[in-house]
Amino acid sequence: MFSETTQPLWALVPSLLAIPLILATARRPNLRETWTLLAALSQCAVVLSMLPWVLEGHVIESTLWSLAPDINLSLRVDPLGFLFALVASTLWIVTSCYSIGYVRGTREKHQTRYFASFACCLTATIGIAFSANLLTFLLFFELLTLTTYPLVIHKETKAALSAGRKYLAYTLPAGLTLFGAICWTATTAGNLDFVAGGFLSTKHGTAETLQLIFLLFMIGVGVKAGVMPLHSWLPSAMAAPTPVSALLHAVAVVKAGAFGVLRVTGYVFGPELLRDIGAWTALAWFAGITLTMASLLAIRQNNLKRRLAYSTIAHLSYTVLGAALLSPWSWTGASLHLVFHATLKITLFFCAGAIYVNTHIENISDMAGIGRRMPVTMAAFAVASLGLVGFPGISGFASKWSLALGSLEAGQGVFLGLLVLSGVLNASYFLPIIHAAFFKTNPAFDRVAEASPWLVAPLVITATISVVWGIAPNLGAHAVDLAMLIATSVTGEHSG
């Protein structure tokens, strides 16, 4: 029952099971939240239990039933999927604690719907991480779109509703493009199972055809990954409650997009083919431009969450860039950034949320002096932002470092330049906040104190994790080993 092959299924069960329980216990909030926490914990446990197998290099396959001729609904745990699932499920725990504190702190309406959709999203995310072929991937990908929508419009204000419409207006067409791309792949290749190093090859069509398919794929997953010019839903979606932004727009949704890019480049097309049809340069340049532009735009944002959103867009492009460069180190960096950026960015969102719950302030210009009243929160904020800047000793450094190596390895020094530039830009839009927060004073905050432990504990935890990983990146989750496994399996060469 708990054999190796059934494990991926069990990873889906907790969050799936939580949905009806949450709905059933709508009347009794404490019990309801207990279900959420239990589900999060057990899910994380199930995922972690697979770590040894994955580290040994096993690829766990389990097929449920046939979806269409020659295509099964099947799950597959390889290093990349595992890494993503691990991040999502771990961060779900902290986010659930945080959400409980948050929704009670702000007395949100429809909390049941909120937690239920949250569980749905997690199911979808884990499904995306573990899907073994494109059709299964598409299934969970669209499911994620659907289940995120209620969270985006959660506040039911005009802004929230229009944000929701914008979200659908971007993601549904993207889903259709992905659908078309997958159908096309099915007709040309007759097979949709992910293979490390890609299953498409030049014999499946002319270079132009393959480039077109690749373009469709990139539009399909790129929207969620916020690659410019398909990014503009992301800042608007910040109308959602902060925990939603935190998990879904720093971890689940956007990361699902980035993850999709990795899957398509590494497991559908593969380095050789992408080199042959020359599609990788285009993708790399898109990513490079995005990470610069987004950082520039971030500077102009006064609303903290919007600034974080643009920084998210920028940092997702790190992953996309790493995927596009196709070299072992760049892939290592991409995979690592998937993990590290998640922890760092979620910390930042937690801080923003904590500040909002206490003071209802969203604009950076009003935050001067907040650091003196909420030292822990702002300390965590400082740590996380420094991490994103790429400050040595915090986790972000490791991933950026290997990305830099990767760009050199790929013989593309120009991207190294872009990375450095965006690091500088990161500094220029994060450091002022910290400076103002600590070294200015604002009498308005005299009666402000730290937020409730439900809110503070999670952000402290994530910040600590980032620091620990900054010193020993491989600790606990073996992130580096996994990243190297991924890079090796995809590019076929060893990194470093």
């Binding site: 979806l67 269409a68 001729p69 020659d70 669209e142 419009i153 659908l168 549904l172 659908f179 007709t187």
Partner: protein, 491 residues
């Protein structure tokens, strides 16, 4: 009485049921509904038994009056017809279960006749899918049409006009069919489908003309663009029960006849290679998809919106028929069952809403999702299926359609089909948004629909999803064997 008698049982049971409903209705009107439901249930059971038999022993031929074809009329229960028979009887059963209150409200004092006529309507449809004789098919076509006109006229003020328009169009369609049949008979001298398929010569002019006429006639009944004008009025003004009964299966059965005659009698090569009939159907259907979806966006009346989306969704089936490749046809057949389920679910929800609120304007629905959670959970599932998002049946029928389209290199069809689902998304998400988010005060006293009404809706909502997840089961159990000669689903 042996298992070999199964094919005839469905029509006979329905006929006897109808008369029984009338007779008992004169004494105890309350019995009528129970009796009708029981009849539908037994028909569903018979259909299942027949399906099992066909699955194990292959097609069943039944010679009426003991006269072997082509002398007499024969019923042929092969996989295709059994598939449709299951859809018809299943939908009918689910509609009947909760029909009592709505019918009593819409047609006070006449519910007995209503149930009798709906049973005869089902008799006509089941006869159509079972018969193996082209003229007999015409008779059953008229039985179902006549009762359909009557059911449609059972609605609001304008129902009469809508029904009359429907009657004129339907009769012309049937006459065209009969004329085409006349041509076929004049050159083959037979009326039996299999016999005719052997005897007709695809090159002969009358045969080709007959193909065109029959296609036009059935196109009218199937509401293929531009012959769809009767449908929105008919579905909008008919009483909610009548719509829920007619909308899911009537047009599907016309599609069945089209498939049966084009692919089984004329043969795939004739309709897709010698003549551009299939292509014509395909392009008209593509136009229908676009027009139907666009019109649906503009509607303010829930039923009318659903009616226009029916035009679009039936056109999907037309696209599948037109592409005439195995996968596309499988998509069309899969869409038959999935669209029947979702559209039936949606119309039943409309009926439940009318029952609880006495109103069906889109504006009046805001916030109702919280008042009737179960009903609208099912509604949401069905809506998602209409848009064609996974993991519902709608998604997979679209999947096969697109695969089929790509296989034949019909890129524009693929693009239009995909684009149309965006239009669908536009009006359904607008609807869902207002259903779940807006608050409105006058909804306060509204309760969830009674169990008998809500249960079928929920069942249908679940079915929509299950048909998606387990579509390959449907594919293996039915669609592979239901393929016309010469078309084989690979894999």
């Amino acid at each position: 009485m042996t298992w070999s008698q199964l094919p005839i049982l469905t029509p006979v049971v329905l006929l006897v049921g109808a008369t029984a409903v009338l007779l008992t209705g004169r004494i105890r009107p309350s019995l009528a509904h129970r009796l009708a439901t029981a009849t539908c249930a037994s028909c569903f059971a018979i259909a299942i038994a027949l399906a099992v038999q066909v699955h194990h022993h292959g097609p069943t031929h039944y010679a009426l009056g003991g006269w072997s074809p082509p002398i007499g009329i024969e019923l042929v229960a092969d996989t295709l017809s059994v598939y449709f028979l299951l859809v018809i009887t299943g939908i009918a059963l689910l509609v009947m279960v909760g029909a009592a209150p709505a019918v009593e409200r819409d047609t006070p004092g006449r519910s007995v006749e209503f149930f009798a006529i709906s049973l005869i309507f089902l008799l006509g449809l089941s006869g159509i899918v079972l018969t193996g004789d082209l003229f007999n098919l015409y008779v059953f076509l008229e039985i179902s049409s006549l009762s359909a006109y009557t059911l449609v006229s059972s609605g609001d003020e304008r129902a009469g006009v809508a029904a009359f328009r429907y009657l004129i169009v339907g009769t012309i369609g049937a006459s065209f069919y009969l004329l085409g049949l006349g041509f076929l008979y004049s050159v083959t001298g037979t009326l039996n489908m299999t016999d005719m398929a052997m005897r007709l010569d695809p090159a002969a002019i009358p045969v080709r003309l007959a193909a065109v006429m029959i296609t036009v006639g059935l196109g009218l009944k199937m509401a293929i663009f531009p012959m769809h004008r009767w449908l929105p009025d008919a579905y909008t003004h008919a009483s909610s029960t009548a719509t829920a009964l007619i909308a899911p299966i009537m047009t599907k059965v016309s599609a069945y006849v089209l498939i049966r005659i084009l692919f089984f009698v004329f043969g795939t090569s004739m309709v897709s290679i010698d003549l551009p009939i299939a292509q014509a159907i395909m392009w008209l259907s593509v136009a229908g998809v676009l027009v139907g979806s666009t019109m649906a966006i503009a509607q303010t009346d829930l039923k009318r919106m659903l009616a226009y989306s029916s035009v679009a969704q039936v056109a999907y089936i037309g696209v599948g028929i037109g592409l005439a490749t195995p996968l596309a046809l499988a998509g069309a057949l899969l869409h038959v069952i999935s669209h029947a389920t979702m559209k039936c679910c949606l119309f039943l929800v409309v009926g439940a809403v009318e029952l609880q609120t006495g109103n069906r304007k889109l504006s009046s629905l805001s916030g109702i999702g919280r008042k009737m959670p179960w009903t609208f959970a099912a509604f949401t599932a069905a809506a998602v299926a209409m848009i064609g998002l996974p993991p519902t049946g709608g998604f997979f029928s679209k999947w096969y359609l697109v695969l089929g389209g790509m296989a034949t290199g019909e890129w524009w069809v693929v693009i239009f089909v995909l684009g149309a689902s965006l239009l669908t998304a536009t009006y359904f998400f607008r609807l869902l948004e207002s259903i779940y988010t807006r608050q409105s005060s006058e909804l306060a006293p509204i309760k969830e629909a009674p169990l008998a009404v809500a249960l079928p809706i929920v069942i249908l909502g679940l079915a929509v999803i299950l048909f998606g997840l387990f579509n390959s089961r449907i594919l293996d159990l039915f669609l592979r064997d239901a393929m016309p000669p010469g078309l084989v689903i690979s894999g």
